[in-house]
C-alpha cells in the first residue's frame, strides 16, 4: 500500500485548486482474488484536509471510490506559504498524511 500521496495545489485568481492522488488498493471486500477467495475489504474510510492546521475539507468514503483515489477540490483564498495537509485513515487502521506549502 505504501505509495506516496501526491498533492498539487495551484493558486489561481484567489482560489487554490487542489488535486490529490492517493495510493491505496481500495478493496471493497466483494472481489474474488486469483485463489477464488474474497479479498478482504481494505479501503480508505476518512479523509481530511487542513490549511494552516484548520480543517477545510473532510470526507467519509466507502469501498466504491476507485483504486488509487483521485480527488480535486477548491479552497477559497490561500496564499503562498500556507501549509496544506491531506491525510487519510483506512478500515484496517492504517493512515497517511502528506503536506505541501502553497507557492
Amino acid at each position: 500500500m505504501a505509495g506516496k500521496m501526491r498533492i498539487r495545489a495551484t493558486l489561481k485568481d484567489g482560489v487554490t485548486v487542489v488535486k490529490v492522488l492517493m495510493a491505496h488498493p481500495m478493496e471493497t471486500g466483494l472481489r474474488k482474488g486469483p485463489d477464488g477467495k474474497l479479498v478482504p475489504a481494505h479501503h480508505i474510510t476518512d479523509v481530511t484536509a487542513t490549511l494552516n492546521d484548520k480543517p477545510v475539507m473532510q470526507a467519509y468514503w466507502g469501498g466504491a471510490v476507485s483504486q488509487n483515489p483521485f480527488i480535486e477540490f477548491e479552497i477559497n483564498g490561500g496564499a503562498a506559504g500556507d501549509k496544506l495537509v491531506v491525510s487519510w485513515k483506512d478500515n484496517l487502521g492504517e493512515s497517511q498524511a502528506e503536506e505541501v506549502t502553497l507557492k
Partner: protein
C-alpha cells in the same frame, strides 16, 4: 492577588468561548457528523436515504458531470458542483452498486461547494449526487452506461 487570578481566568474563558462560537472556527462545522455506518452498508438507494434522514428533493441547482459511457466501470470520473446556498455536504451514490453510498464530502466555509473524484460503477444505472444544504437533502441523477463492470466480480 487572588481576585486578579480569578479575573484572568474569567476573561480567558470568555475569550475561548467567543472564538469557539464565531465563524472563525470551521472545526465546529466539520466535526458535526460522525460517520454514518448504516448509510454505507445500506444496500439500496432507499435504504441509504433512510439512513441519511430522508429522501432528497430533486434539484436543478446541482451540476453533476458523469460520462455517458464508462469503458471501465472501476474508474469512472465524476464531478459535482452545488449551486445551492449553504451547501454542507456533497454525497455520491451509485444505484446499482452492492452498497450505493460511495462518499460523503463535508464542505467547510473555506471551500468551494464542488468536488471531483473517481468511483466504481458495478453496472449501467443511475448515479445520484445528493447535496445537504441548509439542513435539507437535494439530489440530481445521471445515467452512466458501463461496458466493463466496476466491482471486479
Amino acid at each position: 492577588m487572588k481576585s486578579n487570578r480569578r479575573r484572568f481566568l474569567t476573561l480567558s474563558l470568555a475569550a475561548v468561548s467567543t472564538l469557539a462560537s464565531s465563524a472563525l472556527w470551521p472545526l465546529r462545522v466539520l466535526a458535526a457528523a460522525a460517520r454514518p455506518e448504516d448509510a454505507f452498508t445500506a444496500k439500496t438507494l432507499d435504504e441509504v436515504y433512510k439512513a441519511l434522514g430522508g429522501k432528497p428533493t430533486p434539484s436543478k441547482d446541482i451540476e453533476f458531470k458523469t460520462p455517458d459511457i464508462a469503458e471501465n466501470g472501476a474508474v469512472v470520473p465524476i464531478s459535482v458542483t452545488s449551486k445551492l446556498p449553504n451547501t454542507e455536504q456533497i454525497m455520491v451514490l451509485i444505484e446499482k452498486n452492492p452498497n450505493p453510498l460511495a462518499s460523503i464530502f463535508s464542505i467547510s466555509e473555506g471551500m468551494a461547494p464542488k468536488i471531483s473524484t473517481r468511483v466504481k460503477v458495478a453496472q449501467t444505472g443511475q448515479l445520484v449526487a445528493v447535496v445537504k444544504a441548509g439542513g435539507k437533502l437535494y439530489s440530481t441523477s445521471s445515467e452512466t452506461k458501463v461496458t466493463l463492470g466496476g466491482c471486479g466480480g
